[in-house]
Symmetry: C2
Subunit: 352 residues, 2 copies
């Protein structure tokens, strides 16, 4: 077939399973608690007749609410269909040169997929044996840098000093700091957007704001970078966030008390989980996220535990990848869900 | 600034205005009637607590309902965030070769924008003076073909014979037939997807299904083409349609009677509008869409009428472009809205 030659052939990213049956779902780092009461009120009050009209392409209500919350200008904010859409647009916009883009070898596994689909050259930089970043790896000439902080799937947050060191050594590249998990730990690079005009800081409402199902991500950067990003966005799809997502996203930014409560509950459960995992003989690095990246005790295979948990109706994430195939990534759920997990793990570890 | 060299610089598509004040909005071809009652019921019955979870990445409910309605297999259907997202993904997936992609000089003005952003070479083929396609223009060697049928902003539908002629002469390219307006006129190429494995037929829920605000588009093609499209989609964003849009889209496919009623009402108002426009001295080609592309009577400038209507709170669309700057694109609204338009036009034409 002649047309085969014109087709962009790629290997896509594999998201965690979204089973339709009822399971304990600790595999995609969703929030175990519902969105804020304000989100419910807003959605229940929407006038669905308005669906006949296109949504606001500028999403000004949403951008204004984000800007107000984070004390930046709306022109320093960009929003998309989840942080995946935001990151994808950033890759397309900022990494259009010929030099390789740098990111760690162990990180969010979508980065190399975006590089492939947009034909962006890239080089991965090896994390050290403790899964930490060596800032010096990012000093070489490059076409861009992407750092997830805290990192996934490791759960480790790096210091703002290290992040700033990387940004300041790359004034000729755009540096993207992907802060999907920042609300659960580590210090944000957001205050640096006024100091460095090559910096983009990416956030999501899918984790700490409990709205994975609404698909809302956003990022911050200098007005100039945001303008370039919008030019590309408006060259791909004029209207990305739909009517309910703009409304719900706007509402979600406003309920600060509920947000803090959810984050604190997850952190408390994370602390309990870390203690239980120690007792069970798992090893892990303390997590700055809403998940734990843990290695089973001596004599147990992560892949086997993954399968056994699944049989018991508990879904966690296993990556069959170099350097991390001996670990499981486990989302922090409710205390009740984690109790079920501890019980299941005890049974699996004892049953040999 | 060194990083400027790495930035993809583009001139984005300009969508029609979405004014926040109350106006008669005949500028973006939205449906003047609300979505089907089933859409309201579905949205009012959603469990917003589920927003904490990612939506179904496969969107199986939606694909199943589309497949059932059109009597194709779900594996022959792809869905996205409006037909713009679907078309954008098609350009990225199917036009990755070096040869130029062909489309008419006067057509949906996003095609050249997608070509620019994805760095796809393209050539436009001149419509004849009556805005009709010459099939022979598309026989030459190319990297892909895109035809909007009915065409926008002309409103003219070409025969299925002409469309098939173009498809059959391009077995070495993917041919995209953009049928955003097909429910209002012209014959669909959908039955041809089983005959030609190089064909993609694109649809939207923004027009005839009154859901522009929900952002739902879809397309049909051979299982092979849909597989390639999904590989690229899952390399860009795993979860595109959010929880409410999957649910509402599924519901919208089911209420056939309401759908037919809406389409018939719009067609009836279009007939009235054409008669009134003749009386007012406008010239136009009979429309197969939910808009009319009309040229004001001798001695009146389209650009001036556009501005005068805007002052009167009636928004229509004016394209300051070669060959069509003497015309206005006017969406078919409700009968009441069109009466206001007729009155305003009479005033403007008389006031000289």
């Amino acid at each position: 077939m002649g047309f085969e030659d014109n087709i962009r052939k790629v290997t896509p990213y594999t998201p965690g399973e979204q089973p339709k049956k009822k399971v304990i779902k600790l595999n995609t780092n969703e929030c175990p608690y519902p969105p804020s009461p304000g989100v419910f009120d807003t959605l229940n009050g929407l006038d669905w007749e308005k669906l006949r009209l296109y949504p606001d392409p500028v999403m000004s209500d949403l951008l204004d609410s984000i800007a107000e919350h984070y004390k930046v200008k709306p022109s320093e904010v960009f929003a998309g269909v989840g942080s995946d859409d935001v990151l994808s647009m950033c890759f397309l916009t900022f990494f259009a040169g010929d030099k390789p883009v740098f990111f760690p070898d162990i990180t969010y596994s979508f980065y190399d997929v975006w590089a492939e689909v947009y034909r962006i050259p890239y080089e991965t930089k090896k994390l050290n044996d403790d899964f930490r970043i060596n800032a010096g790896d990012y000093y070489a000439d490059n076409g861009g840098v992407v750092i997830a902080n805290p990192n996934a799937p490791t759960g480790i947050g790096e210091s703002l000093g290290l992040i700033e060191d990387i940004i300041s050594h790359n004034e000729d590249s755009v540096v993207i700091v992907d802060e999907a998990y920042i609300d659960f730990g580590a210090e944000s690079a957001l205050p640096l957007i006024r100091k460095y005009d090559n910096l983009i800081v990416v956030r999501t409402m899918s984790k700490s704001r409990a709205m994975a199902g609404m698909r809302i991500g956003y990022c911050f950067g200098s007005e100039r970078l945001i303008k370039y990003l919008n030019d590309v966005k408006y060259s791909v799809n004029s209207y990305t966030l739909n009517y309910p997502s703009i409304a719900a996203g706007t509402a979600a930014m406003k309920d600060e008390e509920y947000f803090n409560d959810v984050v604190n509950r997850i952190k408390a459960t994370r602390e309990r989980t870390e203690k239980e995992f120690s007792k069970l003989g798992f090893s892990y690095y303390p997590s700055d996220t809403n998940f734990l990246f843990a290695k089973p005790p001596e004599g147990h295979e992560a892949s086997e535990i993954f399968e056994r948990l699944k049989e018991k109706g508990i879904y966690v994430r296993y990556f069959k990848k170099d350097r991390i195939s001996d670990r499981l990534r486990i989302t922090i759920g409710t205390d009740e869900e984690m109790d079920c997990l501890f019980k299941a793990l005890r049974e699996i570890l004892e049953d040999r």
